[in-house]
């Protein structure tokens, strides 16, 4: 099912349980959520509340035990693995807590990789990678490998990698958790600015109250359930 004005993400009665040894642990229980295009949504909650599970299900990285996930009107359960791979490659960007850059590639090459996957020509890749790195303030660090970059710089590279192919949405799983508060704040501001300037949908999982306080929309998770939702008017 594809609908023209569908939300970017929609979860209906989403549940997911994991097995830990002989015990079944519920990670998400009956979650309903809709995220419109261009929104900046923070999924907040303590560790183990189900934030990462929700992001994984929204991205089609995992399958729910019950319920449905729609991306731009397409139910992910109806997609083959190849179709989901193509969807993530073309329409989604990811930012991880531990940056997850490829250590043998330079900052430039890490960002370029996503474009290469998308089959973008080399000359165009160069222009777009340079623009992406410039937009995150790393024009002078392009040829450095991740182990020669600070934590904040690595996360900026990861943000550039997530955005360079101009995805419909970016999923960021605790992207500031490995950073100090000042750098984390800078990364958050960078993402908010990019959201504002590009209109890209952002779903941002965090347990940092300082970040939650700045988010325009916050979905609170506890024990796998949405317990609160807050919307702030844009200032």
């Amino acid at each position: 099912m594809t609908v023209g004005d569908s939300p970017t993400f929609e979860a209906r009665h989403l549940s997911r349980t994991y097995r830990q040894g002989k015990v079944m642990v519920p990670a998400l229980s009956d979650v309903d959520l809709a995220i419109s295009a261009g929104e900046f949504v923070v999924v907040a909650g303590s560790s183990g509340s189900g934030k990462s599970t929700l992001l994984h299900l929204l991205a089609g990285l995992d399958d729910p035990d019950s319920g449905q996930v729609f991306f731009a009107g397409t139910e992910l359960a109806t997609c083959s693995e190849a179709e989901r791979t193509a969807l993530r490659r073309d329409q989604l960007g990811f930012v991880f807590q531990s940056f997850n850059l490829v250590p043998v590639l330079s900052a430039y090459e890490n960002v370029e990789y996503g474009l290469w996957l998308n089959g973008v020509a080399k000359s165009e890749r160069r222009q777009r990678v340079e623009n992406a790195l410039e937009s995150v303030g790393l024009s002078d660090r392009m040829r450095h490998r991740p182990d020669h970059l600070s934590g904040g710089e690595r996360q900026r590279v990861a943000v550039a990698r997530a955005l360079v192919h101009e995805p419909r949405a970016v999923l960021a799983d605790e992207p500031t958790a490995s950073l100090d508060s000042r750098t984390g704040g800078e990364i958050l501001q960078l993402l908010i600015d990019l959201n504002a300037s590009r209109g890209t949908t952002f779903v941002f999982a965090t347990h940092d109250p300082a970040i939650v306080a700045r988010a325009p929309r916050v979905v609170h998770l506890a024990d796998g359930r949405i317990v609160d939702e807050l919307r702030r008017e844009a200032s």
Binding site: H56, L61, T85, A86, R89, D90, F96, V104, Y113, L117
Partner: protein, 413 residues
């Protein structure tokens, strides 16, 4: 881009990659040395057979090849044929033919007056033998003189085992007793010109060698039993055979031609034996290289589970990840084969320079050279072999990639 990443991934754990490269390169060098030895042995054995008296081809009357080994005259001698000089002249005029020599095979008893031994005789034309490049291994005395001996001055070369049995040395006289073509017995005194070796102990115990003219005198015939043809180049044997067959088909006598391989069946047996040994060694090397590198590649994948999870999450297909592992294996094969090739060249150079010898094989008399003949295609084949082995070695890690669950991989520590 994947190829570049694969190459760089090898530098992540340099010690392990170097160890893998060492395994591949030593395996490659081992294969090259074995192939070089086998090739040298094949070539050496081929040349020894051809230059040991068989030549490239033998022309005989067709009745001999039809299984009728008796002569038409009723004796037990191989059938002889006349007009061989004009046939020889015709054959020698053909392109690629170096020389053609007549031979007569006969058998009888030899004695020095005190001891007697049976012999197998072969008579040759020494001048043509030399033109044909035949290798006569003289142990004592001299080779047969080129000029045909006059009656009463007949010469003989004795195999070293036969000379020992008879207790004779160069300069002594032996008497041979043989059946003539009409079935009667004839005796002839021969001056021992030298003692020689065929390289094979059993043959050395029985063989003697005379001029064609001597054998004809003893047999009472002016025919010969075969013509031995030597070519300029062994590689051109197939083309030459076709040409020579056409010449013989239009000739005055029904004659057949056989190549050296069909007259030396043990050459095929040796090839099969060496081929089996080489295959066995290749399998052992392949299994060792595959096991060692499969473990290396699998470890490399297990250490990068989270990275692979990330790559899958951002849109890399499993086939692309499998290609990455495959390319890492191929880089190992390529670099290892190159290093192994260099190592092989160095070792081949050293071994050939040292001019080492190996003990004589069973039934042989002389030690054999431990030399290696490696040709460029061997390097390509060894490299291709290693590539196949590394492809096989990459199967377990690739299967691991296909079994990865993205969410679990992202949480892998």
């Amino acid at each position: 881009m994947l190829s570049s990443i694969a190459l760089r991934n090898l530098s992540r754990n340099r010690r392990r990659s170097l160890l893998s490269l060492l395994v591949v390169s030593v395996g490659t060098a081992g294969l090259l040395l074995t192939a070089g030895f086998v090739r040298y042995s094949f070539d050496g054995l081929r040349d020894a057979i051809i230059q040991g008296g068989l030549g490239h081809f033998e022309v005989t009357p067709t009745t001999r090849l039809d299984g009728d080994s008796s002569a038409s005259d009723g004796s037990n001698l191989p059938p002889a044929f006349a007009r061989w000089r004009e046939i020889r002249a015709e054959l020698e005029s053909r392109p690629g033919v170096r020389a053609v020599g007549a031979t007569i095979q006969f058998a009888g008893m030899a004695t020095n007056g005190e001891r007697t031994a049976s012999f197998l005789g072969v008579s040759v034309e020494p001048d043509r033998e030399r033109r044909m490049g035949m290798n006569v291994r003289i142990r004592r005395g001299a080779d047969l003189p080129e000029a045909e001996p006059v009656a009463g001055e007949d010469r003989v070369l004795l195999g070293q085992g036969l000379a020992r049995s008879l207790g004779v040395e160069p300069g002594d006289v032996v008497t041979i007793l043989i059946a003539t073509t009409d079935g009667s017995l004839n005796a002839l005194d021969l001056i021992v010109e030298g003692v020689f070796s065929t390289g094979f102990q059993e043959m050395d115990d029985r063989i003697l060698k005379t001029h064609v003219a001597t054998a004809q005198r003893a047999l009472g015939s002016d025919g010969v039993t075969s013509l031995v043809i030597s070519l300029e180049d062994t590689e051109g044997a197939r083309e030459a055979e076709q040409d020579l067959r056409q010449v013989l088909e239009g000739g005055p006598i029904p004659l057949a031609i056989r190549d050296w391989e069909s007259r030396a069946p043990f050459y095929g047996q040796v090839r099969a034996l060496y081929g089996g040994i080489f295959t066995f060694l290749g399998i052992i090397v392949g299994v060792l290289v595959a096991l060692a590198n499969s473990n290396t590649l699998l470890m490399s994948v297990l250490e990068r589970v989270r990275e692979f999870g990330t790559l899958l999450a951002i849109g890399t297909s499993r086939a692309q990840l499998a290609s990455l592992v495959l390319l890492e294996a191929l880089w190992l094969a390529l670099l290892g084969a190159l290093a192994g090739g260099v190592l092989g060249i160095v070792l081949v150079g050293i071994i050939n320079f040292l001019e080492l010898e190996m003990p004589p094989p069973p039934a042989a008399v002389d030690p054999i050279d431990l030399a290696l003949a490696v040709i460029p295609s061997d390097f390509l084949l060894a490299g291709a072999f290693m590539a196949v082995i590394l492809l096989i070695a990459s199967v377990p890690p690739i299967l691991r990639v296909f079994r990865l669950k993205i969410v679990e991989a992202l949480g892998h520590v």
